[in-house]
Amino acid sequence: MIAPRLAILGTLVVAAVTLTVSAALADGLNEYLEEADKAVYSGRQVVGTTWGGVQEMGIVDVRHFGGMAMVGSGPAYTMIGQGKVNALDSPDSALAYVPIARAPVNHAYDIAGGELSTRFGMTTKTIDIVENGVVRMRMVIDTATGATLETEVFDADGNRFRFSNMVDFSPSAAGMEDYVDDGEYRVMLPLDEAGVPDGAGRYRLIDAYPAPAEAEHGFYTDGLFRFSLFAFDGRHDVSNIENGHAWAVDGFEYVTVIKPAAVWVLWNAPDQTFALVGDLPPDHLEEVVADLPRPGQRNWFVRAWRRMFG
């Protein structure tokens, strides 16, 4: 009886060692990201995006506790985290997503930097996330809490196009614990079969969910950046979207809406309308839309046939 037990013990030890080594090799980035999610803090954050000559900036109060963030400005606060969103002034619209698949970190990203400095009287560490020798994201992290105090995101040429700065910071989140468990959520389950593409550019489909107007919602990430693609049947009007700007890729026209922390891209393909929102750098976004159905129209005969007979 001793030999089988020793064999099992040996297997467990080998598994534990293997897990430790692989975690150390592969999860450096994930560790920083997960630590940021678990940090307890409150503060005020300035966020901005510069895209195609358009600059959008905003300021938001953040309280972070128990893996949930209470964000907002003025009286309109929203609880976000762990797949859930709950606008406190509109609790009927609370959503809770069940994620089924998990994305591995894209191995094209390396970690560099590590210099120590001081912010708000606290020791901080600067981490660079590097892709093919180009810094794509720089994070300044409070070493005590793991909170990200500053973030900069760069395009393929090294130009900064997005930033966030804590302009006020405290390593506590008083009062937030009252809200963490609040709210009745509408649970969103992944679809058994997805109609949205399995991947685009370097991003792969993680989950797909139902969306308003019988649309389908695909969620994609490369482990660092992420986007949602909403695919609607038919042609919805995207030309009158508020604050829309024209954006051309390979001669195709898209409509973009620049927000302080994200960019929307909308377009009509022959049979469908697409709305994409995410935090991708411009070059990643160009790769993504190049892999998705392009803007365009069917010829009149096909349109008439499809409308009459489906």
């Binding site: 598994a15 897990l19 560790e31 990201l33 940021a36 678990k38 307890v40 900036m57 905003g58 300021i59 972070h64 128990g66 963030a69 907002g72 400005s73 976000i80 797949g83 969103v85 959503l95 809770a96 069940v98 994620p99 089924i100 998990r102 994305a103 809490t145 793991g146 990200t148 995101v153 997005r162 390593p171 506590s172 008083a174 009062g175 614990e177 468990d181 649970v187 969103m188 389950l189 989950d207 969910y209 308003p212 107007a213 919602h217 969620f219 990430t221 660092l224 992420r226 949602s228 909403f230 042609r235 919805h236 979207i241 922390a261 909308l266 709305a275 929102v277 009149w300 005969f301 349109r303």
Partner: protein
Amino acid sequence: MAGVNPLAYRREELFSAFLDGELTKAEAEFVNEVLAGDEEAMEEFRGIQQVRRALRMLPDLEIPGWLLPDGHLGEQLSAYLDGELSADEQRRVSDHVISCADCRAELHDLDRARIAVRSLPGVETGQFDQIPVLPRSRRRRAVAAGSIGIAAAVVVILGLAFGGQQQPSITLDDLTSQHIARASAEPGFAVFPAGIEISAP
């Protein structure tokens, strides 16, 4: 307990409970006051945070399923769908559903049943005795009406072919909520508040 300062011990317990979100509002406010006014307490608090971070970085060792009793969630799934679980319980159920195909399938079934029940129509009385019968004497008018119908159909077909039949505009607000909610399930959400509507400074 010789050598242990009961006050310091109590403070450490309080800090741990604070980080676990287990304090009442009054207790949490007390901790905040202590942290704001006592540099030594802040150092201790950060020390506890660092120890907890180090512990969290230890690798998880997955226990093989065959070593566990039947761990399916049963009635908890229904409570989960109804939003009746606490945040901790929701997290546990989510984590389990990710790895358990049986519970995932059961969750789908429950959700489908819930949607089906919600979409049941109200009972209406039948109108079968009111189907109109076209009288023979009106056949001529019917032929004329048929011709008009064909002409109208041609107009509709041409309209379909050449007209730009558009669905309504898309509103981004609901879609933003969906994106933010799903994105927040991934690591690193706190690094950037992924598209949250933010007012201009």
